[in-house]
């Protein structure tokens, strides 16, 4: 069988698979809906300072003086702009704690009794206590961070006001006296929301799972409907069968990938700094690196149910360990070691660097190299495994 006829058979099988897809309205609809739902879920589900709103917070002002009321007013003013909290009054710290324990509030701000008195005499530093519901770690962490920042900056402003007359006399800036230096943190590029973190990984996942999960399912489908044996007994090379199937899945994945990218840019307004050609190249490379593994799974799975079980067992941990949803650095060290052995990690890393930093293929050559080596090595193993798997 010549290469020309093998290629022609490969494309013919791909055409058939795509034609079947086009004829199934449900499958076509799911192709569009799946990335949309996935992206919407990821964009809206995870909390960020900008997206969190209506957190019930108890306000305890035990200070009879004017300073406590001033702080409450300032906090209400700041909150009215963001809508992050719903501030309710409580008479004591105990009542506020009870409200948190009963689940009626997620935090409390407590201004102590002697607040105005200490501020006026400046005899010592006085604390405004922020209590949070630590059974809800994400919100607790966010709330204490935001409130500490707001209250600290109010304290600084108050200090500046107190120093103003002295500073004027000696001719210096009172702000520079209170805060002589600050840290200014910024990213390599602007942006950096969770959506921007997660979308490159989701894109890779869409493409790669089209081969990893799609290929074994496509072959299992042929076996289940009774077309596979007719195929295998026909003068078609095994390469054409698996190549045609893989190409069909790659095209489907690529369409889904492009759709996801368009949706991410249009609906979720993510910034893409990288070159589109580099993005496409990484998408294809990512898929290529997983074709071999997809073929091995295909050869092992006897039917669609087995295929699904193997796929779930392999892909689920791989998705979480490769840093799509959480940074790898946040994982325990043994998991970080596992993640370094997963080629998916490198695919996600390359895509993220290109999309978020505008990196070139040269900048991510390490990732490219790992994907290429893994892709070639698994393909070398996969073809004979497939041959053997189909003729037992």
């Amino acid at each position: 069988m010549g290469i020309k006829s093998e290629l022609s058979h490969t494309f013919w099988i791909t055409w058939k698979d795509l034609m079947e897809l086009r004829r199934s309205k449900m499958r076509m609809a799911m192709m569009v809906l799946m990335p949309l739902i996935m992206m919407a879920m990821m964009s809206f589900m995870f909390p960020s300072t900008n997206s969190v709103s209506n957190i019930p917070v108890m306000m305890v002002n035990a200070d009879p003086g004017a300073m406590g009321s001033g702080i409450v007013q300032a906090l209400e003013q700041i909150n009215s702009a963001s809508g992050m909290m719903v501030l309710k009054n409580a008479s004591s710290e105990e009542e506020a704690r009870d409200m948190i324990v009963e689940g009626n509030a997620l935090g409390a701000i407590v201004i102590p009794e002697n607040f105005s008195q200490i501020l006026t005499t400046r005899s010592s530093t006085v604390n405004i206590t922020v209590i949070t519901d630590n059974s809800n770690p994400q919100i607790s962490q966010m709330l204490s961070q935001v409130l500490t920042q707001i209250i600290d900056s109010m304290g600084e402003r108050y200090a500046v006001m107190g120093l103003e007359p002295i500073a004027r006399n000696i001719g210096v800036n009172p702000v520079a006296m209170v805060v002589p230096f600050r840290a200014e943190a910024k990213g390599v590029t602007e942006g950096g929301s969770y959506v921007e973190f997660v979308i490159p990984g989701l894109l890779m996942m869409t493409m790669i799972s089209s081969v990893m999960t799609g290929l074994p399912r496509a072959i299992a489908y042929e076996k289940d409907i009774g077309t596979m044996n007719g195929f295998l007994a026909a003068p078609i090379s095994r390469f054409s069968i698996i190549g045609g199937k893989a190409l069909g899945r790659i095209i489907r994945g690529f369409i889904q990938g492009i759709l996801s990218l368009i949706l991410a840019i249009v609906l979720f307004r993510i910034n893409v700094y990288g070159n589109l050609l580099a993005i496409f190249a990484i998408l294809f490379l990512g898929v290529f690196s997983f074709v071999g593994l997809g073929i091995v799974l295909t050869s092992v799975a006897e039917d669609e149910e087995t295929a699904s079980m193997i796929i779930m067992t392999l892909t689920l941990p791989m998705m979480f360990l490769s840093g799509i949803f959480f940074p790898i650095q946040m994982m325990p060290s043994f998991m970080q070691t596992i993640s370094k052995w997963l080629p998916f990690t490198y695919a996600v890393d390359a895509m993220r660097r290109i999309m978020v930093f505008g990196a070139t293929l040269g900048n991510v050559y390490n990732d490219v190299l790992v994907m290429l080596i893994f892709g070639i090595a698994t393909l070398i193993i996969a073809i004979p495994v497939f041959e053997r798997g189909m003729t037992r």
Binding site: H9, G230, A234
Partner: protein, 238 residues
Amino acid sequence: MTAIVVDGLRKTFGKIAALDGVTFSVEEREIFGLIGPNGAGKTTTLRILSTLLKPTEGSVSIFGHDVVKEDSEVRKFISYLPEDAGAYKNLKGTEYLRFMAEFFASGRDRESMVKRAAELTGLGERLNDKVSTYSKGMMRKLLVARALMMRPRLAVLDEPTSGLDVINAKEVRDTIKRFAKEGTAVLLSSHNMLEVDFLCDRIALIDRGRIVETGEPEELKKKYGAKNIEDVFIEVVS
């Protein structure tokens, strides 16, 4: 030329021996039936001949080509119809035939193959409908046509009339006879003893992975003083 030579064929799945020394041969233009109960080894034999399974021991050659060493060559002139065969439900009948024909011919040859298959199905305009709308019988006729459209030198048919009513089954049997006359050797398996009697030039009775009797249906009936092949089979097995 002898179409099929099977010699000492053994196939084991773990500790179970599905075939235990099967030997038979089929001549060109001959319709040869492999008859036996469920689990006797009929489908395993047909699958080995169709290059889908590798034998554990023994040899099979088709028109002089070994099915293991020259499997690609063998696939060029055989056609296999599995008992549980199906077609793509989202394709139209003609599209399915054209899809399969592409692997055997191209251009004008392919189109004449599709035309031949369309006639063989007898489905007429319904070939322009999606396969998902076909009845079980229509589906089987489509698949039989797919198996014969390329005029294979050897057609391996597993229960070719399975699921067909009397009239459709007779049509399919007539088609198989016609193809054999035109030069195709046919190896088929069947549970239907009447069909075997009508269709096959020679038969082999297979039981528990062994060929227990071979011969022409009339000759076997005479040998065992039986009225039909069913009685022959019961006599031989008991």
